[in-house]
């Protein structure tokens, strides 16, 4: 039974489609059959770019054709299947595209297929994010996670992680110590933390102590040694959020996982954890 295959890749424009002959469907079935059950349950990933192939059997006059065995249905009760996470079968289907997929797109998809470990890591990160349990927030003043405010076009590029952690949009790309005349002199914990203290923040050992209304909320300082610093803040839901430089505010780490504790989350190059700190509405930054 022939099948129609759709390369699931675009977000805006229509995805390319072509037909698999009966022989090609049988060859695909053989390649799927050679993989283990675990591998064959890749499913389509909710990521930008290449997400896999959707394979729909051609319907006869009276009934839909049989679904390709060994693949997940695209959704419950669907006749179409999703092929993803089985590189040998994906490469084969891509090779049948002919003129439906140009050379550049073929190259891109081939690279995406061979980067199967990256896709697996993404899936794992998404699963990890779903598993994170936010700790309890003990600070009555802790801000709500409100990325819409920070990601507005006039605000996002002019405010950094220090603005965000202190919940003050000064539009000055604020620097620790600049408002108090004691700006840091080196990109180390020993230099940046005192600069923040001079602005009015206070270091603390953890984020478990109760902070009554008017007594601020918890933030955390980390360092990319010799290069940069970064701040996180604990929101009122208990998980943490941050705003990397002029990029959008977000509540996930570099693995895409929710942040239960900035000390242990994926921070990329910012390998040095300095300390948790408390900021308040009385802190002045510039």
């Amino acid at each position: 039974m022939p099948a129609i295959v759709t390369l699931d890749i675009y977000s805006g424009v229509p995805n390319p489609s072509w037909t698999l002959s009966d022989d090609q469907v049988q060859e695909l079935q053989r390649k799927i059959g050679r993989t283990s059950g675990a591998e064959a349950q890749g499913g389509s990933l909710p990521v930008l770019g290449y997400r896999g192939f959707i394979i729909r059997p051609v319907e006869s006059e009276h009934a839909p054709g049989p679904r390709v065995e060994g693949l997940e249905a695209s959704h419950e009760g669907a006749e179409e299947s999703v092929l993803s996470g089985i590189p040998e079968a994906e490469d084969f289907v891509l090779s049948t595209a002919g003129e439906a997929v140009d050379a550049e797109l073929t190259r891109h998809v081939r690279e995406a297929i061979s980067a199967g470990t990256t896709r697996a890591a993404l899936a794992e990160a998404a699963a990890e994010a779903a598993r994170v349990t936010c700790p309890r927030c003990h600070a009555a003043d802790a801000p709500a996670y409100n990325p819409g405010f920070w990601n507005a076009p006039g605000r996002q590029p002019r405010n950094n992680c220090y603005n965000y952690a202190n919940d003050q949009a000064t539009n000055t790309f604020a620097q620790p110590g600049r408002a108090s005349g004691r700006m840091y002199t080196a990109l180390t914990c020993q230099s940046v933390q005192p600069a923040a203290v001079s602005d009015g923040l206070a270091a603390c050992p953890n984020f478990h102590g109760a902070l009554a209304r008017g007594h601020g909320w918890y933030v955390a300082l980390v360092i990319w040694p010799g290069r940069d610093y970064h701040w996180y803040r604990q929101d009122n839901v208990g998980c943490w959020s941050h705003k990397p430089g002029s990029t959008p505010a977000r509540n996930t780490d570099n693995s895409g996982a929710a942040i239960a504790d900035p000390r242990t989350c994926n921070r990329g190059n910012y390998t040095q954890f300095c300390s948790y700190m408390i900021t308040t509405r009385r802190v002045r930054i510039r």
Binding site: I9, Y10, S11, G12, V13, L48, G49, D102, E104, L105, H108, N160, C161, Y162, F173, Q175, P176, L187, V192, W224, R227, D228, Y229, H230, W231, H242, K243, P244, G245, S246, T247, R250, T252, D253, N254, R267, G268, N269, Y270
Partner: protein, 114 residues
């Protein structure tokens, strides 16, 4: 400035940026003209922390809509996206920052681009 490159890499301290003028600007425009369209692909999502690509901004008289983000083989702008095969444009742009970028940072970023 006719064109500005911003290395989008830091969070707290300001990102390094530098201007592209004269013959370099002519070469940049030629390189942009030769890029193949990516047909709607947005390219990979940059990480939150760490190197997030190079941002190209143009003055209005240059007639190029920006900003353009050059990252991991794609050039993504407000009106389209293009393929930067082999990250040639990304490496070239980074090397134009040799007088602005700290030597260690430049080396690390070039290693990251590969």
């Amino acid at each position: 400035m006719p064109a500005t490159v911003i290395a989008d890499v830091f969070s707290g301290v300001p990102n390094p940026e530098w201007a592209i003028t004269g013959q370099l600007l002519v070469q940049l425009k030629l390189m942009l003209q030769q890029l193949a369209t990516a047909g709607g692909l947005a390219g990979p999502e940059p990480p939150g922390l760490g190197y997030r690509g190079l941002i190209l901004q143009f003055s209005p008289e240059e007639g190029i809509a920006g900003p353009l983000r050059v990252f991991e083989g794609y050039v993504v702008g407000p009106h389209g996206s293009w393929i930067d095969q082999g990250r040639v444009l990304e490496k070239w742009l980074l090397e134009t920052g040799i007088r602005t970028l700290n030597a260690d940072i430049l080396r690390e970023l070039l290693q990251e681009i590969g």
